[in-house]
């Protein structure tokens, strides 16, 4: 009997050792384990549960779990007795909030009923999923933020696209090497391309020498209002006013070059037209006095530079007043147009004929060697006027008095002196009976 008792005691000791190890082991795991009766009275819990509810173990024992562990859902305290009694499966993925010491935790739990000797014990395992939940919330928050930012960016992109699309100026975005990355509608429309046709092409298809302008933009970071010529798909030339700037990436490297070009073809044409009108006689289309002043200065410079002589002719039509008085001013004007045409036909390509006003003309004759060359041209001019000017199917005997101021490139003379000399020579021709030419001569000078 005594031996039997000793054996039983030995078995009990072994069981106690095992129980102690189990209890210790259960206290080290992350899950909080508690077992209660069906009313929620706590019969035992592991150390993790003690820590979860932040109470001493002995205080927890015998307490009601529903008083100790106030679970919430979306901030509202809930009754979870039914879940405890009926059992919660692993598959149920409910997450509850629990506040302890002002710290908000997220818990999941599962329960298992254990019936022994007609008594039900409910074993509940709580898992603290706060880290995962906060991480998930953070991810969701970031995801939401990302979506909002994406939407915002999409809106901004649409807004920018609309601005770029509604721009009347051409926009090109190109790489360092001049490859076109993006163009707007206006650019495609003005140059006669489809937008996609230009993407990936070199800027060379549009600009004559893109490399130099790109290099200039990169080196100076931006340029503004540079007049450039663009070529359309059909080869037409467009005058443009080009501005450009450099875009940098986050590392400070050039990521793209943005150029905006304004089509100024019409403006340039208008400017040219205005320039033409301000420098040409509207009746004969010959250059006018304003043009003549500049042209004479340029001719003198050219003469000095090329070491070629020049001559300035002053020409006055003989008796033009009679035509005006007898045939009327409109006929006189038509006559002047005819004379202008005749003069132009008598001159070489480099020579310039100018209507100074009324029936007075000036001719700048470039590239002469000797006064004889000037004399030959003068003779030809007078001859052509006499012979070739027919008017209203009637031949009019047109004559003119021509004064020639010959300029030796080796000598210096002001434009005004040269004009004065030509004028003196012209009056000399009139005095000599008209229909002739006379050279201006210094006293005792023998020109021919």
């Amino acid at each position: 009997m005594r031996r039997f008792i000793m054996q039983v005691n030995e078995l009990i000791d072994q069981l106690r050792n095992t129980l102690s190890k189990m209890e210790l082991a259960l206290g080290t795991i992350d899950e909080a384990i508690v077992w209660t009766n069906q009313d929620g009275v706590i019969e035992w819990c592991n150390k993790t549960f003690d820590n979860l509810v932040a109470h001493a173990h002995i205080e927890i024992l015998g307490s009601n779990i529903f008083d100790l562990l106030l679970l919430k859902k979306e901030g509202q305290t809930i009754s979870w007795k039914n879940q405890l009694v009926q059992g919660v499966d692993d598959a149920v993925n409910n997450i509850y909030e629990y506040e302890n010491n002002n710290q908000k935790l997220f818990l999941k739990f599962k329960t298992r009923p254990l019936v022994l000797h007609n008594r039900t014990t409910i074993i509940t395992v709580f898992r603290n999923v706060t880290k995962e939940q906060l991480y998930l919330q953070d991810i969701l928050k970031k995801d939401k933020l990302l979506k909002e930012q994406t939407e915002l960016l999409a809106k901004e992109k649409t807004f920018l696209d609309n601005i770029i699309g509604s721009m009347s100026n051409m926009l090109f975005v190109v790489n360092n090497d001049g490859t076109i990355k993006s163009v707007n509608k206006a650019a495609a429309l003005m140059l006669g391309y489809k937008q996609e046709e230009l993407i990936g092409k070199s800027l060379k298809v549009i600009l004559a020498e893109p490399n130099s302008i790109l290099h200039e933009i990169i080196s100076s970071k931006s340029i503004a209002n540079r007049e450039m010529v663009c070529k359309t798909k059909k080869g037409q030339i467009k005058q443009t006013l080009l501005s450009g700037s450099v875009m940098y990436d986050s590392d400070g490297n050039v990521s793209a070059i943005v150029t905006i070009a304004q089509d100024i073809t019409e403006r340039k044409e208008l400017e040219n037209r205005l320039l033409y009108l301000s420098t040409h006689d509207s009746l004969t289309n010959l250059p006018n006095r304003a043009y003549f002043e500049e042209a004479l200065k340029a001719a003198l410079h050219r003469s000095a530079r090329t070491k070629k002589n020049l001559a300035l002719f002053y020409m006055d039509l003989d008796h033009f007043k009679i035509i005006n008085d007898t045939l009327g001013h409109s006929t006189g004007d038509a006559f002047l147009v005819k004379v202008a045409s005749c003069i132009q036909n008598s001159l070489r390509k480099d020579d310039i004929a100018v209507r100074l006003g009324g029936d007075e003309f000036a001719l700048i004759i470039n590239g002469l060697n000797t006064p004889q060359d000037a004399a030959l041209i003068a003779e030809k001019l007078l001859r052509n006027l006499r012979n070739s000017c027919s008017f209203h199917e009637q031949h009019l005997n047109v004559t003119a008095s021509l004064g020639i101021a010959f300029h030796d490139h080796a000598k210096e003379i002001s434009p005004s002196d040269l004009r004065k000399n030509a004028d003196i020579a012209m009056y000399k021709a009139k005095a000599a009976g008209r229909n002739n030419y006379q050279f201006y001569r210094e006293q005792g000078e023998n020109i021919l």
């Binding site: 000791d13 002995i58 024992l61």
Partner: protein, 124 residues
């Protein structure tokens, strides 16, 4: 003499003594009055008889842990625990549990004061 012997001399509070197997070996008269058990009736019964069933597992585990490790966690300090009378009535009480090794075996003794009695004594 040791604490167990001192407890046996106690007359003002309920005292219960159990052996290393958790079997009751002694209760005093005050205990008999409160718990409605006589010494003859309760002697040799497991100590769980005066512990409400919800605390049985906790008691068994704690008891086993102490005997295995001999490291006390709840000894020598007053604990608020429910106790169970023979009538099945539970009441709140202050337990102070002591342990002493006698002839190589652990002997446990507890002084139990019903909470209302403790409050009454304190107010005197």
């Amino acid at each position: 003499m040791g604490i167990i012997n001192d407890l046996k001399q106690e007359k003002n509070f309920a005292v219960v003594i159990a052996d290393h197997n958790g079997l009751i070996t002694y209760v005093n008269a005050h205990f008999e009055t409160i718990f409605k058990w006589t010494l003859a009736e309760i002697q040799g019964k497991p100590i769980n008889i005066i512990i409400p069933p919800p605390l049985h597992d906790a008691h068994n585990l704690g008891f086993s842990r102490f005997l295995s490790t001999e490291t006390p966690t709840l000894l020598n300090k007053p604990l608020n625990l429910n106790a169970l009378k023979k009538t099945g009535e539970e009441f709140k009480s202050i337990h102070t549990i002591f342990a002493e090794k006698l002839e190589g075996e652990w002997v446990f003794g507890a002084k139990i004061i019903p909470l209302d009695e403790a409050i009454h004594n304190a107010s005197q």
